[in-house]
């Protein structure tokens, strides 16, 4: 539970700036050195301490020399576990990995590439950011890609922000953690409008029952041999996965003319987000149908085209419409 009060948030911000020296995203690789790993007992650790105190009192009361020894041994092991937890994080190097864009409402998958330089396994680690967490472990001297899925609500650029790598290994009594801001961001496209009006010039007439579906309303006709220029979206992956040849799904319909996705042509009553949402839905529809499309936003024009890159470029413009450009690239 995060305290809702703004005071708590302000305190945390202050701590982040002053104690953890967090600010702009750091250049990769982020190396977890001695100075940036913190340790504190967990609630279980406090409970363990309380239990040891009770055991110590019992030992004093009954003059149990071996009781003293047991308490001190356990206390020593728990103390040593501070160093073990610390060591479990020490020397890790993190780089942001690829983040595939997603539509608002889908989960953004942040990838961090974490390098373990030590020739020993690093067990029971956890990556936390955006209120989500993802457990992982690292193989000896290997780089591991760790995925953290975060829900998205709004279009735009989702920075991973304050990120934590933590561990309570080995005894669960001590938590060692490190806070950092990796330069990882995910582009969140606007959520396509559900049940949008028919796309202008859509010969197939999208106002029928199929309109509700965002994808999958393929007018699939046949399979043909794959050509290098074919969109990977149309590759018959299932057939390939069954061991067949690489085939391309051929769509019989979808041969309308070029379409211009024009901001200014939308009804005046629509808000910005609604407009973007509708344009996104249309864009997907056009792409699905195999039509060429151009994007016309205020001050932005993208000439007609199709294919994966074109689609990505247009969606990116829709996602970042009216949003300040990305922060300057991290110092390197």
């Amino acid at each position: 539970m995060r305290p809702p009060g703004s005071l708590a948030t302000a305190l945390r911000r202050g701590a982040d700036r002053w104690l953890f020296r967090l600010g702009a995203p750091e250049p990769a690789p982020i190396r977890l050195t001695q100075r940036r790993i913190y340790v504190l007992p967990t609630p279980a650790g406090l409970g363990f301490t309380a239990a040891l105190l009770v055991m110590l009192l019992t030992s004093i009361n009954y003059n149990l020399s071996l009781g003293y020894a047991l308490v001190f041994l356990l206390g020593g092991a728990a103390t040593a576990s501070i160093v073990h937890a610390f060591r479990n994080l020490l020397g890790l190097a993190l780089r942001p990995g690829r983040c595939e864009p997603v539509f608002a409402g889908e989960a953004a998958g942040f990838r961090l590439l974490i390098d373990n330089p030590r020739a020993a396994r690093r067990p029971a680690l956890r990556l936390r950011a955006q209120g989500q967490s993802s457990p992982f472990e690292l193989a000896p001297t290997a780089e591991t890609s760790v995925l953290l899925a975060c829900p998205t609500a709004h279009r735009g650029r989702l920075d991973i922000g304050r990120t934590i790598v933590e561990t309570t290994w080995p005894l669960g009594l001590i938590r060692a953690w490190s806070v950092f801001v990796p330069a990882a961001a995910c582009i969140v496209y606007p959520a396509p409008e559900i049940d949008p009006p028919a796309l202008a010039g859509d010969g197939t007439g999208s106002t029928d029952a199929r309109a509700g579906a965002r994808e999958g309303d393929d007018d699939f006709a046949s399979l043909r041999a794959h050509r290098a220029a074919d969109s990977p979206r149309h590759v018959a992956w299932k057939a390939l996965a069954r061991g067949g040849p690489m085939l391309t799904k051929h769509y019989a319909a979808a041969q309308g003319g070029d379409v211009v996705l024009d901001w200014s042509a939308l009804p005046a009553g629509l808000g910005v987000e609604q407009r973007l949402s509708r344009l996104t839905a249309w864009l997907l529809r056009a792409e699905q149908a195999g039509r060429r499309y151009a994007l016309q936003l205020p001050q932005i024009h993208i000439a007609a085209g199709s294919g994966r890159e074109h689609r990505a470029r247009c969606l990116r413009e829709l996602a970042l419409y009216g949003i300040a450009p990305a922060p300057p690239a991290p110092r390197s």
Binding site: L64, A80, T168
Partner: protein, 671 residues
């Protein structure tokens, strides 16, 4: 039924009724390795308690643990919560019935053990498992309440190891069991220096801090304040150690090893019991003659008497003296304790004994032992002094055919009569009792002294070990001008009992405990060594008390008096230990790749011949340079470097390539 269960679950704050299903599903998937570690820790913690817990409690615990094992190995469903509640309730009632109360050491341990069994059956979440591990550790501590021997300490090590492994398995479910164990072992090894530092320096307080429950120190074997026929002979078969003594010089000869226990003056015809005596801080006699210094390490007997060697001289403030010349501890001896004592074997005691004491020492019930009275009257007739009576009684007893035996016939009324005239077979208490009856009947003040006689020097560490089987009863006779004189009537019939111990005196009987039999020499040797080891353990580990701590610290040049100073020392040493651990963590281990290690060795060898590898030189370039420097081995050198490069940077080979590489390296001959 299920509604009741849900209600109970809510009432106990255990879970929402809705997530009962979810938690059951979780239980089914609870990691098997975690469950096995936890089970092992629980078994190791509970098993030793079988020696002290009521049998049904222990059996129930093992049953619950077995059930858990069945769930782990057979995949049986965990028992319903209601059943567990019923078992818990029944167990609590059973404990209440067994002990009569809940508060105290024994019912507490029983409840803890049962709780652990139940907790294990319902352990589903991480918190449950942590709680169960803490219960295991508490039970481990509870073992020490009963027994702190070396063997128990050795058993505690695997117990602690598995408990820690259970915690590690909880945080690292993906790891293998060997890794868990290894980490736990490493943690214990790292914890060991802390144990040593804290054990030595943590300020020791003489407990108890608060009133202990009544059952804190249960009945122990040993002497009592009364003696009736058979009470000492039952100690005769016990090989348990009563106390140890370390003498500053050579120990006294066996015939002088009389360790003084309760003095029994009051006699009701059957049972001898102690009369009240006054206490003082100094002995009631003037110590004269030789002085023997020794340190007595007394096993706990929960009584105040110290069993000092006859006759005790003034000792430290923790020792009191009684008017019947015993040494007492200030408090009952509830744990193994050390006392620095001394003895004056030639001292005269009771020279000016009070008439009241002497009167009490001649009292004899009128209706008991008529034949003995008649015999005493006959012996005393015409005697001019008490000394003469004494001589005549001794002569009579020596002449009578009395047999010393550990298994005397059962005697009821007129025990002295029956022993002297009918059965003529008895243990030391019969001899002492009959002698005292005769003497009192003749009007001579006499009392029975119980204690220990003899003891055996352990050749390994030189300690004199006195066992329960050395328990003995003798008599003291008061003669005018000479005070109380020790007379040991047993010695009249069986002098070897005094000289060589019980084993020698009873050799023919074949009824001795196994260990006391004389022909088990090799076994006795082993026992000597084991007991010397145990003694060292007792003296230095278990006996490490506030006094020893002060002693050790002053020897180390630190005054242990100031707690602040000790705390500072502890903090400093702990910080230093943490720093060492920190250095270990930060220190980057050299590469563990065997190929790399072999290569580094090879390069170092070449370097000794002046052909070291430059830091910027790749293996192939280095190989060329080596080949140029040692042309006659050029081929082999190139091969070594190329193979290393292939093994290090290329794809893995097929046939034990490292071995081949190493062999190649070894074949290089340096000029």
């Amino acid at each position: 039924m299920s509604r009741i269960r849900a209600w109970l679950a809510v009432a106990l704050g255990r879970s929402h009724p809705a997530d009962g299903l979810a938690s059951t599903a979780q239980a089914a998937t609870l990691d098997r390795r975690q469950a096995v570690w936890l089970l092992a820790a629980a078994v190791l913690a509970v098993a030793p308690h079988g020696l002290w817990l009521p049998a049904w409690v222990h059996a129930l615990c093992l049953l619950l643990l077995g059930w858990r094992g069945l769930i782990v190995w057979q995949g049986t469903r965990p028992p319903p919560t209601l059943l567990l509640l019923a078992v818990a309730l029944a167990a609590a009632v059973g404990v209440r019935l067994e002990f009569g109360h809940f508060f105290g050491k024994d019912p507490g341990v029983a409840l803890l053990a049962l709780l652990l069994g139940l907790k294990l059956l319902e352990a589903r979440r991480a918190r449950d498992i942590r709680a169960a591990v803490l219960l295991c550790l508490f039970l481990q501590l509870a073992v020490f309440l009963e027994d702190q021997s070396l063997a128990v300490a050795a058993l505690a090590v695997p117990g602690t190891l598995t408990a820690l492994s259970a915690l590690i398995a909880l945080s690292d479910p993906a790891g293998r069991a060997r890794e868990h164990l290894r980490t736990a072992g490493l943690l214990l090894v790292h914890g060991l220096p802390f144990l040593l530092v804290f054990f030595v320096l943590f300020p020791r307080v003489q407990g108890p801090l608060w009133g202990l429950p009544a059952d804190a120190f249960s009945a122990r074997t040993g002497l009592s304040e009364t003696m009736s026929p058979g009470s000492i002979s039952e100690l005769g078969t016990s090989g348990a150690i009563a106390f140890r003594a370390a003498f500053a010089g050579p120990p006294p000869p066996p015939a002088q090893r009389y360790w003084r226990g309760p003095i029994l003056t009051d006699f009701d015809g059957r049972t001898w019991s102690a009369a009240p005596a006054t206490e003082a801080e100094t002995p009631f006699h003037a110590p004269t003659g030789r002085r023997l210094d020794y340190v007595l390490t007394l096993e706990a007997h929960n009584r105040r008497w110290l069993l000092a060697l006859d006759y005790p001289g003034a000792a430290g403030p923790a020792v009191r003296f009684t008017s019947d010349h015993r040494a007492l501890s200030l408090r009952p001896v509830q744990s193994r304790s050390r006392f620095t004592l001394n003895a004056y074997p030639d001292a005269r005691i009771g020279l000016d004994e009070s008439p009241a004491v002497l009167a009490a020492a001649t009292r004899l019930p009128a209706d008991s032992n008529p034949r003995s009275r008649e015999l005493a009257a006959r012996l005393a007739a015409g005697a001019s002094s008490h000394a003469e009576i004494l001589a005549r009684v001794i002569a009579h007893m020596r002449g009578a055919r009395l047999t010393y035996t550990l298994r005397p016939p059962l005697l009821d009324r007129h025990a002295a009569d029956r022993f002297l005239f009918d059965t003529q077979r008895g243990f030391c208490e019969h001899f002492a009792s009959a002698f005292a009856v005769l003497m009192r009947a003749a009007g001579v003040p006499t009392r029975v002294v119980t204690g220990y006689q003899g003891g055996e020097v352990n050749p390994v560490d030189g300690y004199l070990v006195v066992r329960q089987s050395d328990a003995h009863a003798w008599a003291e006779v008061w003669l005018d001008g000479r005070g109380w004189l020790r007379v040991d009537p047993t010695a009249l019939a069986a002098p070897e009992r005094i000289e060589d111990g019980l084993a020698a005196a009873l050799a023919a009987e074949g009824e001795l405990p196994f260990m006391l039999q004389a022909d088990m020499d090799w076994l006795r040797g082993a026992r000597h060594r084991w007991e010397a080891l145990s003694n060292t353990w007792n003296q230095y580990v278990l006996g490490y008390n506030p006094e020893r701590q002060r002693e050790l610290l002053s020897r180390l040049g630190t005054a242990g008096d100031s707690a602040a100073k000790l705390a500072g020392l502890l903090a400093g040493l702990s910080a230093a230990l943490l720093l060492v651990l920190y250095a270990w963590a930060v220190w980057q281990r050299r590469t563990t790749d065997p190929v790399q290690r072999a290569w580094e060795r090879f390069c170092a060898r070449m370097a000794r011949a002046g052909l070291g590898r430059e830091s910027w030189e790749g293996p192939l370039a280095y190989g060329e340079r080596l080949a140029a420097a040692l042309p006659e081995q050029a081929h082999a050198l190139r091969a070594v470097c190329a193979d290393y490069a292939r093994l290090r940077y290329g794809a893995a080979g097929t046939r034990d390539p490292l071995r081949a590489l190493e062999q190649q390296m070894n074949e290089i001959r340096l000029p």
